[in-house]
Symmetry: C2
Subunit: 348 residues, 2 copies
């Protein structure tokens, strides 16, 4: 490991001068700068980021904790967050929770303390009490459908409004038996709560079928979950003429089952998803979906987090009493759009 001192020694200057050169400090004689630069090149010196981070009291790293990358929505969102954060000179450390409460709790409690400056979490199973008992003061921003009472910034599109828009689209096409695919059962509060509510409000308002026989639960939100739930729904005799799915993966799984059963999309059953993942645009019947503005979500999440980071090492010892972020927590609602495609409109 070649360090600053080695460079300083070789160039015949002090460590500070090398540091000045490395960090582009202006007041260095051209001759000195050249000599230092040469020593750096000859030794192949690279500044040690860990040392820099310790000294600075910040790392420029933020964690993004998502359920999993296997869901393209999260992969696409992660790419947006990483790209936007990079533009703000931050590195993103990706963590997986697998949608498990214990993992989610671990992250908000502060594993990674000192390594990350702040955290963006997209929770699935996390509960209010977990946030209350947090015991870490690193800035935290929450993402996605789940809502909490704890005082943290929360970035999410209006899920109820989006679900209503999706349902309305199906109603306007004349569908009357619209199923909802992807409700969750289990020990915790419904993660799919808001989208289910939007569906229920809209079908009820239209006087269309809103019975529980049209609600299919799933264990998770994968294609396999969607395929199974669709099969169960068809077997139950519920005879839907449309399905609104929790997300695109569930919708893609549902369409596969419909195809296997010889049912045509959209003639027999129209399908709407949620997320606008790339796959949906290449299905045999391209998928109508709700497109959350991912780029805006990423931008708002990163901006919200950075706004709550201390600018650097605590300015003065006294400032540690009441450091920063007296700003009240914000509820930010990026936009979304309904994208009608072949799974509801048919092929042009």
């Amino acid at each position: 490991m070649v360090g600053l001192k080695d460079v300083a020694e070789r160039a015949g200057v002090s460590a500070k001068t090398v540091s000045n050169v490395v960090n582009g400090y202006r007041h260095v004689t051209p001759a000195t700068r050249r000599r230092v630069q040469q020593a750096i090149d000859e030794l192949g010196y690279r500044p040690n980021l860990t040392a820099r981070h310790l000294r600075a009291g910040r790392t420029g790293i933020i964690a993004l904790a998502l359920p999993e990358l296997g869901n393209p929505y999260f992969a696409e969102l992660a790419e947006e967050v990483i790209a936007y954060a990079a533009g703000r000179d931050y590195t993103v450390l990706l963590d997986h929770t697998h949608g498990r409460r214990d993992q989610e709790v671990l992250f908000i409690r502060g594993v990674r303390a000192g390594l990350i400056d702040g955290l963006i979490l997209s929770p699935i199973e996390l509960e209010n009490e977990d946030l209350a008992a947090r015991g870490s003061d690193a800035p935290l921003v929450l993402l996605g459908e789940r809502e909490y009472e704890a005082p943290y910034d929360h970035i999410a599109i209006d899920n109820v409004a989006a679900a209503r828009a999706a349902t309305r689209h199906l109603l306007e096409l004349g569908r009357r038996r619209i199923a909802f695919l992807g409700a969750r059962h289990g020990r915790t509060r419904q993660p799919a709560h808001l989208r289910l509510r939007g569906w229920r409000e809209e079908v009820s308002a239209a006087g269309a079928a809103a019975g529980e026989d049209l609600v299919a639960t799933t264990d998770g939100y994968t294609r396999a979950d969607g395929a199974r739930a669709m099969a169960r729904l068809l077997d139950s005799g519920a005879a839907p003429d449309a399905v609104f799915c929790y997300n695109d993966l569930v919708a893609i799984g549902a369409m596969r089952t419909l195809g296997e059963r010889g049912l045509r999309v959209p003639e027999d059953v129209a399908v709407v998803g949620f997320d606008d993942i790339e796959d949906g645009r290449y299905c045999a019947a391209t998928l109508t979906t709700i497109a959350p503005h991912k780029q805006a979500i990423a931008r708002e999440a990163v901006d919200a987090l950075l706004a709550r980071l201390r600018p650097g090492p605590a300015a003065t010892p006294e400032s540690s009493v009441s450091p920063v972020s007296p700003e009240p927590p914000r509820h930010i609602r990026p936009g979304f759009a309904l994208i009608p495609r072949e799974s509801t409109l048919g092929r042009p």
Copy 2:
């Protein structure tokens, strides 16, 4: 920020004792341990990982530099690497190269010096000369189809053999005009070199059509690239009865175009992909593909990298002369399998 000293002070012990408790060192009196633990809980102390890393001379972080997460193959591979590395007590920092040479060069040159212990890179455009001029001694493991002369461990399935297996499958089904979709043109050596070669060898050996009119180039490896290339191929009058695609994304794009043109898969055109991404299992015609053993790839890559990491801080100053890894670089070939599905066999 509450540090070790604060805990020590509150518990009335030295920093070392706190450190002993935090790190589960055995020889601590139960009473002392209890007192320290209580101070930790009361103060909400979390050890600062950056300080620990600096002290240890290692961070337990390895970087995984991939082209992009938008390609599910890389997202799925990343999940495997992250999971396996976690089991070996390593954290993975994901970096994107976007398949750009300048980005790939940046990573092998050692941005992230001191922050990561080693690097796994899946290169697209990187050249031999870039590796030769590397100027960083952090352990590096290479992944994927591109092959290099530089002395680094390289993990990849046998791409030529896999491409031959895919092509043979189509030949055995009686196809004679098998196109290859996804050759790359451009300023650098073919990234798709080996798969193209496998296709060429196999069709030639079978005496089937091997003309350049059956080779369609693409700019990248996305669904859109596949859709466009398929359209171009059909418009050119090449009239293939099968296509072997560089990867599943290209194949999915190709199938979409075939559907739009009213061509049936596999009756009119059989399709084989490469990667075995999840999407392929839910297409209208499920996708026949080459399944690289992703888990094995992830395991081998991480193991190869960890085998070359110094175990901790340099044992003695002298050991820095010839540190470790005298092991010659290895070429590791995880397995693969051909998975026949509806896109070549039809629906049962």
